[in-house]
């Protein structure tokens, strides 16, 4: 018996058929792709747990003060929130299309769908901007700084703390997503991706879906309390 050691992959022979995108420490492109995918899924788990703290704070304060949440929620415009939901869902569709076109090697449509996604993300942020300015205009600030004359209730500041922190951190994620997708789009335009190698498209799309799905929870929890 040969014992504990024997060679499977000599480095020299492995280098001979290395595709350019394969990093040296992986044995095969499949291994590299699988590792990247597992990595991004684990990262998404950490993202969910980051938001989980805020969801717990939401649950605790809503259980304690349901009537305050109901009243405060009326100050949010469900039409704008709803519009943003549609915008983000559409962007999830376009980013999924981008992955599809990456897999089928259609560079033109890949690039186009990536830019579309970024555009929709931009629309989301613009709507968010108008929502925030309108709130600030009425002195609706988080927590101790809340000073809106139209609705004075104890704990209403907590609702808006949770609203601003959750949507703020979510908005930050949208901005990061726009940055990442722009980088992927530029690389796609340069022709870095093919049906053989499209890992960055896939993992940034997974990240984008997470950003979308968190909003899917935020929207009803914040805007649609009756």
């Amino acid at each position: 018996m040969a014992g504990a050691s024997e060679a499977v992959t000599g480095q020299a022979e492995a280098h001979a058929h290395h595709p350019p995108y394969l990093q040296h420490h992986f044995v095969s492109a499949d291994q590299q792709f699988d590792a990247a995918k597992l990595g991004i899924w684990l990262f998404l788990v950490t993202e969910i747990l980051l938001f989980s703290g805020m969801f717990v704070a939401y649950a605790v304060y809503r259980v304690w003060h349901p009537e305050v949440f109901q009243a405060a929620s009326k100050l949010l415009d469900w039409r704008l929130g709803g519009l943003n939901t549609i915008v983000l869902l559409t962007s999830s569709y376009t980013v999924a299309l981008a992955v599809h076109y990456a897999q089928t090697g259609n560079q033109k449509l890949l690039v186009r769908n990536l830019w579309l996604t970024i555009l929709l993300a931009g629309v989301f942020m613009v709507v968010k901007y108008f929502e925030y300015t309108e709130k600030f205009h009425h002195h609706i600030f988080p927590g101790g700084n809340y000073a809106y004359e139209g609705l004075q209730l104890p704990y209403v500041g907590q609702f808006f703390s949770i609203y601003f922190v959750m949507t703020g951190i979510h908005g930050l994620h949208v901005l990061v997503g726009m940055g990442v997708l722009t980088w992927v789009a530029l690389r796609a335009r340069r022709g870095d991706f093919s049906s053989e190698y499209y890992t960055p498209v896939e993992i940034s799309a997974l990240y984008w879906h997470l950003v979308d799905i968190i909003w899917i929870f935020l929207f009803p929890l914040l805007y649609l309390i009756h």
Binding site: A7, Q11, D34, G39, L49, P142
Partner: protein, 568 residues
Amino acid sequence: MATQTVATATTGQPEIHYLNHAKGLKSWLLTLDHKRIGLLYLISVVFFFIVGGILALLIRAELFEPGQTLMTAETYNHIFTLHGAVMIFLFLIPAVPAVLGNFALPIMIGAKDVAFPRLNLASWYIFWLGALTMLVGIVTSGLDTGWTFYTPYSTMTSSGVTWVALGVFILGFSSILTGLNFIVTVHKMRAPGLTWSRLPLFVWGLYATSIVQILATPVLGITVLLLALERIMKIGIFDPALGGDPILFQHFFWFYSHPAVYIMILPAFGVISELIGTFSRKGIFGYKFVALSSVAIAFLGFLVWGHHMFVSGQSATAATVFSLLTFLIGVPTGVKVLNWVASLYRGSIWLRTPLLYALAFLFVFPIGGFTGIALGTLGLNVPLHDTYFVVAHFHYVMVSGGLLAFLGGLHYWWPKMFGRLYNEKLAQLAALLIFVGFNVTFFPQFILGTQGMPRRYFDYVPEFTTLHQLSTVGSWILGLGLLLVAGYLLHSLFKGRQAPANPWGAGTLEWTHTGRLPSPHNFDRIPVVTRGPYDYHLAEEIFGNGHTGQEATVTPSKEQSQQPESTR
């Protein structure tokens, strides 16, 4: 008797290894090599350990006599807070995974590197960014909340809580990225034949740790972020003056910080398994139980945070459930301790420094564990809460887990890291000093606690003087032992005798399949694994030299007696 050292392929030419293949500061600061990143972390955590250690000596010195001796009460508050924050966030959490794990894990599983080398380097930079952010707050305005940042004091104090909270937030990313990297590496990068049941137990320990890092750290992240926002924007989630709930902060904080205890202890368990497996020459008794008990502890660790809050006003039902779950943690932990002892039983024990640390751990850790069970009982917790009993308990757990295992692991992997041996006699003396010093420091604190000495107090009644002085003297012995370690390790670094490739006769890949120092990509050829990590009944495969000429064997030397399972 064969006496081979590692055969370098071309004799005469200097051996190319990971330390000399690229030179200069830049090659270190931009390295993607997990081994070099491990060493970068080593320098970093040792630095912070020295800082935290000096703070600890200052605390003990102040407590040598009742009343003010060295510093004012305010300064004392700052010092003990810094000691806790530095030791936990900057030493204990990164020490074993980021130093020893980074260095050993990829080699142990037969990989060329971790799955994401760039993230790995990034995590080191993020570590320093977080550490510096913390230090900015500490240097400019101090920190006097205790490392737990309990509200409402932490929202009121003028000390640097905001900066430190942001620093902890950033440090969390470093910890998460390391954990993420390790999980993916273990899942996807194992060498052919290295099944889950053949993984070295250190890898299992790191794997369980990584799960905790990934699941718990983000919650700490959002907690300290909310705390910082509380101070910056008055969000009123935790601040009772604004209608917030300080108990909610405690829930959030301990939801991370209790599992964080397992971030510190699980990799330590892994190191101890490795040491006992190697130096008892017998294989680990109940391998699967030892491996899976790590995962069980990681899981149960998430369900017990409430035992930190028995006197914070949580409901009796919740307290009862948390108490019961706390006892449950004793089961997988007991499994481990039993199996380690059973592994030593009728083994061929080779009493070298790394094993001495493991034995010290076996003595110290159960004391920490049992007193933890005592603190988990609802009745006893009330009088013992916030006394020196708690201080002694968590030092018995953390110092045994963090420090003894780190030192044991460092002494074990040192020859592989630097290719040199250290002075065994001095090392054994230092291990003894550390063991004695540790117990003299902290055992009296159990007694002080039962007599009612509250933790974090600057002053005490004269009756406690003797025990406090004993404890302080212990801290000097401990400090002396650590100085000795620093001395001979530095000597070894420059003047130490050259180590053979496998000085301990260990059976894991980093010893059997690399040279005196690993090559930049660890292996010339990816190994195929055909046996378990501690299969000493297959001694020939561990020590043998019959296949490719790449295997290491134990080099007998004048001082170092050969082991029974010698080479053919």
